[in-house]
């Protein structure tokens, strides 16, 4: 019997690592936090004091010099950091190799404190010139520089050499990226057939902001009707998000894309895949895709740093602010031979006009600011948050392509913005057993999490029992409108995606897409947001054509993929030529739609990765506004007592349309969206069975 006891112990361990996997690895898939550059006030000041230098390497008669670079990304980032490193390597070659010019560098210094330590180490180690290659390093640099008066420091994007603070050993440098941005934008407008351009920016600051402002101004100068969609990823290095941003732009009709920071390698890949033109900046990105990277603004730091080295060796340790411009050759435009020669000639004429001073891009930007609503629209406003810890209890998994993934993805996007240190996420998956879920909820509360989200209507009873024991913890659950007011609870939020709205819009779309007059819907159970979807969908279809037959089947399960696939087959056999459905089970049904070549209308999460040609529209749950409302409320001392709806009007639901849809159908669907938002369409559920 001893053996049996041992065995049960072993099994318990197995169970523990089997069932509890998710809770122990919160957000393992999250990318490392990326510190963001903060805009420095000096940024806005015009670079009057900027010194013009030649663009050529000019180091023929220098003495041996030791140079150190602290950079936010890597020397192979095909962007900001690589442009500088390549210039220094050219200087090194010209000057006679490593004996003459020693180059040391530290990469990936996204943490400013680490960067400060590296800067100080290099200075203490006797390097002659220490370059802090990012706006974010300025404060640290200004603290360190006074301790090493005979070491030269340089930083950028900046124009402030610290002379007002009495510092004499700092150089500042900037690239007037708006100039090349203007030329790229002008060319993009001429090349675009759809009249829609997409921009993938990192954060709205520094070099990226200059470039994008210039790009928008140039695009509008060439074609006042052009639409420039700008999206910021909130990160410099999130390649995947940049790729998604590019895909989004392409889906929105953009046929020329641009963007900046090292993240864009992802976007360039996405552009290449779709055969969409890309315009680069900073470094030469054409190695990724010769055919699609057709125009580039290249940063040439050769002249600037040749000059800095010579000044240093002449005993002038700082005090100069440099600018790369088209006029001084620090910015070089490079165009692919494959481009339309007339368009290139027109764009180069603009570039010459900028270089000659006939066009002042900053003035154009200032004057045109209000004419660019698209750029404003795309910005997401993130409130300041104190560090927050959020726990999520979900009935399926974070990769379910549906209900659970939709909220997890929004949490992950917020974490990406605020950083993992300030925004902790823990989650427990597969909590189909309500008792287990209750235990997990209580554990998270005990553990001091600020907001605990029980992501399913089934968890309500448990939540109402647990909440009173933790009055300063916020709890949230949905789909529900009940935040426990009757029970006297003050720390429960409820949330409620009004999926009948998105359902209605996709119903309208479906009515336009069907030729057979039969549409199939694969639901899980007739409750919650699945029920709302059905109600809205049927109403939307019948608003267009009351004779269309909507066949509805519920599988009775959220996760029975095989049965959902059979339900889809059944609908096809019954003549359906458009399919939709909800819950994580639908991945099975989507496969059937894909094989049969019929359109699928998705809800909750973006399912197009599974069948790009079949998933033609999605009612996408964007949880960010809801989550931010709960978090800010919690941090202001209001722990609950609200029911939050997710609607088309407040952006909690967003429609995604594929390019392949007929224009007429999309117009009708968008009209339905507008009607729901302004209240002119009222959705009335039809009685069923």
């Amino acid at each position: 019997m001893k053996k049996v006891g041992l065995l049960i112990l072993l099994l318990l361990m197995l169970v523990a690592c089997g069932g509890g996997d998710a809770a122990d690895e919160p957000a393992a898939a999250q990318p490392a936090p990326v510190a963001e550059a903060t805009a420095v006030p000096e940024e806005a000041a015009p670079a009057e004091e900027a010194v013009e230098v030649s663009a050529e390497v000019d180091v023929a008669d220098i003495e041996a010099v030791r140079i150190a670079i602290v950079m936010p990304s890597t020397v192979t980032d095909l962007a900001w950091s690589q442009a500088l490193y390549d210039a220094l390597v050219r200087i090194q070659t010209e000057a006679g190799g490593e004996d003459m010019v020693e180059i040391a560098y530290t990469e990936n210094m996204f943490n400013v404190t680490d960067a400060a330590a590296a800067i100080r180490d290099y200075a203490a180690d006797g390097f002659n010139l220490v370059i802090a290659h990012g706006t974010q390093y300025g404060t640290s640099l200004f603290e360190i520089a006074p301790d090493f008066p005979e070491t030269s420091f340089a930083w950028g994007t900046a124009v402030d050499t610290g002379s007002e603070m009495g510092l004499e050993n700092i150089f500042a440098y900037e690239a007037r990226a708006e100039e090349g941005g203007y030329v790229n934008g002008y060319l993009a407008s001429l090349l675009s057939e759809s009249g829609i351009l997409g921009v993938v920016g990192p954060v709205e600051a520094g070099d990226a902001k200059l470039y994008i402002d210039g790009f928008v101004a140039g695009a509008i100068a060439a074609n006042p009707d052009v639409k420039v969609n700008v999206s910021y990823t909130g990160s410099f290095g999130d390649t995947a998000l940049a790729a998604e941003a590019a895909n989004t732009h392409i889906a929105a009709g953009a046929d020329v894309l641009t963007g900046s920071a090292q993240q864009v390698v992802g976007a360039i890949g996405a552009a290449k895949e779709k055969g969409v033109i890309w315009m680069g900046t900073q470094a030469d990105q054409s190695p990724i895709s010769e055919e699609t990277v057709v125009a580039s603004q290249l940063y040439n730091w050769d002249g600037v740093f040749s000059d800095i080295i010579k000044k240093h060796q002449a005993g002038i340790y700082g005090g100069t602010a440099y600018a790369l411009t088209l006029a001084n050759g620090g910015l070089v435009m490079s165009f692919s031979d494959a481009l339309d020669a007339d368009a290139v000639a027109a764009a180069m004429a603009e570039g010459d006009a900028i270089a000659a001073g006939d066009i002042d891009v900053n003035a154009v930007v200032a004057g045109e600011q209000t004419a660019v609503p698209a750029a404003e629209e795309a910005e997401m406003v993130y409130p300041e948050l104190e560090p927050v810890r959020i726990a999520l209890v979900i009935p399926s998994t974070t990769t379910d392509l549906a209900w659970s993934q939709s909220i997890y993805d929004s949490l992950a996007a917020l974490q990406d913005h605020y950083g993992a240190d300030n925004f902790e996420i823990a989650f427990s998956e597969n909590m189909f057993n309500v008792t287990d879920a209750a235990a997990a909820i209580r554990d998270y509360a005990d553990d001091g999490f600020n907001l605990i989200i029980a992501h399913g209507a089934q968890y309500g009873t448990s939540l109402f029992e647990i909440a009173p024991d933790f009055p300063e913890t916020s709890f949230a659950w949905g789909t529900s409108t009940n935040f426990g007011a009757d029970e006297g609870l003050t720390n429960v939020f409820s949330y409620d995606p009004r999926l009948e709205q998105g359902g209605y819009v996709s119903g309208v779309l479906a009515a336009y897409l069907t030729e057979s007059g039969v549409i199939g819907l694969v639901g899980p159970v007739d409750a919650g947001d699945a029920k709302l979807q059905v109600d809205g969908f049927v109403a939307g279809v019948h608003a267009v054509d009351p004779d269309i037959n909507v066949n509805i089947s519920f599988t009775g399960s959220f996760g029975d993929t095989a049965l959902a696939a059979e339900a889809a087959n059944t609908h096809l056999a019954a003549g359906a030529d458009v399919l939709t459905g909800s819950a994580q089970q639908v991945v099975g049904a989507i496969g059937v739609a894909k094989d049969a070549g019929v359109p699928w209308l998705g809800v909750q999460a973006d399912q197009s990765s599974l069948a790009p040609d079949s998933v033609v529209a999605t009612v996408f749950y964007n949880w960010i506004p809801t989550l931010l409302e709960m978090i800010t409320s919690n941090q202001s001392g209001v722990y609950g007592g609200k029911s939050i709806q997710m609607t088309l009007a407040n952006g909690g639901q967003q429609m995604i349309y594929a390019d392949s849809l007929p224009a007429e159908a999309v117009e009708a669907a968008m009209a339905a969206e507008a009607g729901i938002i302004d209240g002119s369409i009222e959705i009335v559920a039809e009685p069923r069975n």
Partner: protein
């Protein structure tokens, strides 16, 4: 409504769906039949199916070769069976609990591996339907009525149905089958004849588990062409119930699997046809039927006498 649908379309639809849906149940339940006939109740089928499902998917995802996927699922199933064997046969653990342990282990590990090795739900080209084409345009699959029922399935589905008579033959007509049945009925007698009961049980559990792995792969690389965490969604447990339903006989299991899948396919049509039955009732039908069948009194007597009883040599 739906008056354009002929009765024939509906009946064919139900049969076609039912046959496809029965595939994973057949592999899992026939496998479990071997295991239980030898005296070992393996409740971990669900976990083994998930592991087979993931590894089958992953092999195809990496190599594009569905046969390698099937092989991977088979091997993973064998290994899971070996673990179950060590726990329940050598260490003589309580079978029900160790099975639940296997389930949790399979569920957790397949999810973890999926998250780290794949990350998001992706599709693969697995086994497609054999259409039995004589020439480019002439396919048996297009023959009215018979085509859909008999000639429009993947090789994996045919395998599942071929397994039934094979399992019957092995269990009833081979020496090894006799040993399996005896080990589950009267292990002491088997032992007294010099046959190693534990070895027979090990092989049975491992074969059963390998088939459960294939059952999982039949979902991920044949029926659906995707992997999703926890995608078997209780099928493994239904398979165990089907073994009871089928009175531990392969043909009984076949009837149970077809009935269960057929009623499932039927309930989908009930909803599509908008028959005035609440969808909840339709969804309940297959389970209701299973419960009724399980409750039939005469079935108990057919249960292997030594099921769930670890064999302790020389105890009596």
């Amino acid at each position: 409504m739906n008056d354009q649908l002929t009765l024939m379309t509906i009946v064919l639809g139900i049969i076609h769906s039912g046959i496809r849906l029965a595939t994973p149940y057949l592999y899992a339940a026939i496998g479990e039949t071997f295991s239980q006939r030898s005296g070992v109740l393996n409740l971990g089928v669900e976990g083994v199916m998930l592991m087979g499902s993931f590894f089958g998917f992953y092999a195809v995802y990496q190599t594009g070769n569905p046969w390698l996927g099937l092989l991977a699922a088979l091997v993973v199933g064998l290994l899971m069976g070996l673990i179950m064997g060590v726990v329940s046969i050598t260490l003589k653990a309580e079978q029900g609990i160790s099975g639940i342990g296997m389930y949790m282990f399979g569920l957790g590990l397949s999810s973890l591996l999926f998250k780290t090795m794949v990350g998001s739900v992706e599709g693969v080209e697995g086994f497609s339907e054999l259409r039995f084409c004589v020439t480019d345009t002439l396919c048996l699959a297009d023959v009215p009525i018979l085509g859909d029922i008999f000639f429009n399935h993947s090789i994996v589905t045919y395998g599942a149905f071929a397994l039934v008579p094979l399992a019957w033959w092995i269990l009833n007509k081979t020496t090894w089958g006799l040993k399996v049945r005896a080990a589950g009925q009267n292990p002491e007698a088997v032992d007294s004849l010099g046959v190693n009961v534990d070895a027979v049980r090990y092989v049975s559990v491992m074969v059963g588990s390998a088939l459960a792995g294939v059952a999982g792969a039949s979902l991920s690389i044949s029926l659906l062409g995707i992997f999703q965490e926890n995608m078997t969604n209780g099928m493994g447990f239904t398979a165990v119930a089907l073994v009871y339903f089928g009175s531990w006989r392969p043909y009984g299991v076949l009837v149970g699997a077809l009935l269960f899948s057929g009623v499932n396919a039927l309930q989908l049509w009930v909803q599509v046809l908008k028959l005035n039955i609440p969808s909840d009732v339709a969804v309940m039908l297959p389970y209701l039927l299973t419960i009724v069948a399980l409750a039939l009194p005469f079935r108990r007597s057919m249960q292997p006498a030594a099921l769930t009883k670890p064999f302790e040599r020389g105890e009596n």
